[in-house]
């Protein structure tokens, strides 16, 4: 029983960070109807930024939250503006070309980082990287608890933005009906750039939060692209609330898989959940949450 609860706790903590990363892809999916297959790679770039800040300036990874996500926001806006939106003009209505473009962007990012940093494993070993505390008989890993807390905070900020501000409402409006949004005076093209920027920033925040506990190498992005994709599908392709649930489900499933089946099969468990949801809950978790 103790092992079970411990496993559950670990799963929920990592799931909170997964949810943050998945939300970024979900937002992009909701507004642009494209799957951002460069998502994990954007996260990887943010991790390198955080790594550099730590290595050369001695900046704590948590302070890097003020730098890496904004940097990725700018990069995301530029990607949408100069690489993705122009495709719409060349070949209207086919979003597939944009998806292919994101694959290309992901590869370029990975290879650029490999060129600069080589394939070596890097890590940020802070004083608290392996710190733990106990509540009862459950062991809590400090950086994971902090990562979870900050992920929840950032997610809450995103929801406040989407629900309470005119710009956030414009993002949702553009996702629901682009022509009507234009008639209302919403600059839909800017909204797509803003959305991609926000999505990239959220992936960046997730990466930065994970860095104290993860190894960093150029290929670290791909599995996270897959995770974000699973979360987006689990959530119901564009549902933000669904994505949060999706992130938690994936985190817990991986954690249970690692404890009870095998560490090596952790990722396979995520895929199994993915397939099960596609089979039995084709609308995703959105069908349960209704939003």
């Amino acid at each position: 029983m103790e092992v079970f609860i411990q496993t559950l706790v670990a799963g929920i903590l990592i799931g909170g960070v997964y949810a943050l990363i998945g939300l970024g892809m979900t937002l992009i999916m909701g507004v642009m109807r494209i799957i951002n297959l460069a998502h994990g790679q954007l996260m990887m770039v943010a991790m390198y930024i955080t790594f550099l800040l730590y290595e050369y300036l001695g900046l704590d990874p948590y302070y890097a939250l003020l730098i890496a996500p904004p940097a990725l926001f700018v990069l995301g806006v530029a990607i949408q503006k100069y690489l993705l939106n122009p495709l719409l003009e060349v070949d209207s209505i086919i979003p597939q070309n944009q998806i292919l473009m994101t694959v290309g962007i992901g590869m370029v990012l990975t290879e650029t980082m490999r060129f600069i940093f080589h394939s070596d494993y890097k890590s940020v070993k802070t004083s608290y990287s392996s710190a733990t505390f106990m509540i009862g008989s459950i062991c809590w890993n400090v950086p994971m608890v902090v990562a979870f807390g900050l992920a929840v905070l950032l997610t809450a900020c995103l929801f406040l933005f989407l629900l309470k501000t005119d710009t956030g409402k414009s993002v949702r409006a553009t996702a629901q009906n682009k022509d009507a949004a234009l008639i209302m005076g919403i600059n839909a093209e800017w909204i797509t750039q803003l959305t991609y920027g926000l999505g990239a920033a959220m992936a960046a925040a997730g990466g930065t939060l994970l860095l104290p506990i993860y190894y960093l190498f150029p290929d670290v992005g791909a599995p996270f692209t897959l995770k974000a994709f699973i979360i987006t599908v689990l959530g119901g392709m564009g549902s933000t609330v669904g994505a949060i649930l999706g992130g938690l489900v994936l985190g817990v499933a991986e954690s249970l898989g690692a404890t009870y089946i095998s560490m090596a099969l952790k990722d396979a468990v995520g895929m199994v959940i993915f397939v099960l949801v596609l089979l039995f809950l084709p609308g995703g978790l959105k069908t349960l949450t209704k939003v």
Binding site: D166, A173, Q176, D179, A181, M184, G185
Partner: protein, 234 residues
């Protein structure tokens, strides 16, 4: 106020509008009638810059509208209530209305405009928290009109506001249009209820296959032989 001059437009290679010209004076109530597929909605979409022009010009108060980006049209004082409502279905009525008042001027007067709109549509006030997509057809149409009014337009364009509504509700919508017109707002309306709209409008244009074929006072067109045959089944 609005001048559409020799406009050609279409979708891709398919030309839909052929040398369309008409105008709407300030405080006028002008109607466009025509069979399905005549190009009525396309005209409204060209005015809103959603469909680019192949030729011709559109002027609004001495400004070239066809050079304006779609999202800037509303700033010029034009509201478009599109065909089939086009609400934001997963947002509340209130949110839909708020999105109708995003221009700086409209935003500054949002509270006041909301009160005015709720006075015109008391039903919407009751339903302001409801998701727009879950409302009845009539309520959705009211919400679409109210959303258009939220921008405080000088000209409001209605594209088939009676679509899918019962005769009784259609009457209500027309009465509201007259009420809005009475408050000094210019109206351009597309309608299938030819008889009723011709009776209440100032002027009308008849469209056929993307061309303007007739123009005149509403009541005069009601007597026109061609109109009678084509639309009134007499």
């Amino acid at each position: 106020m609005l001048r559409v001059e020799h406009v050609d437009a279409g979708y891709g290679d398919v030309q839909v509008l052929w040398d369309v010209s008409f105008n709407v004076a300030e405080k006028e109530f002008v109607v466009l009638v025509g069979a399905n597929g005549a190009g009525k909605s396309t005209i409204m979409r060209t005015i809103s810059s959603l469909v680019p022009l192949g030729g011709g010009q559109i002027w609004f108060e001495d400004r070239r509208l066809d050079l304006v980006k779609p999202y800037k049209i509303v700033e010029h004082g034009i509201a478009h209530v599109p065909e089939a409502r086009q609400l934001f279905p997963d947002m509340s009525v209130l949110e839909n209305l708020e999105l109708g008042s995003l221009t700086p001027q409209a935003k500054a007067r949002r509270k006041e405009t909301l009160e005015w709109v709720f006075e015109l549509f008391p039903r919407l006030k009751e339903r302001r928290k409801q998701m727009a997509g879950t409302m009845s057809g009539g309520e959705q149409q009211m919400c679409a009109i109210a959303r258009g009014l939220m921008s405080r337009p000088k000209l409001i364009m209605f594209d088939e506001p009676s679509l899918g509504l019962s005769p009784l509700l259609t009457q209500d919508i027309f009465r509201l249009a007259l009420q809005i017109h009475g408050q000094g707002i210019t109206i351009l309306m597309v309608e299938q209820n030819v008889k009723q709209t011709l009776a209440i409008c100032d002027r009308a244009y008849v469209l056929e296959n993307g061309r303007v074929i007739l123009e005149g006072k509403g009541v005069e067109l009601l007597e026109n032989q061609q109109v009678k045959q084509a639309f009134l089944g007499i």
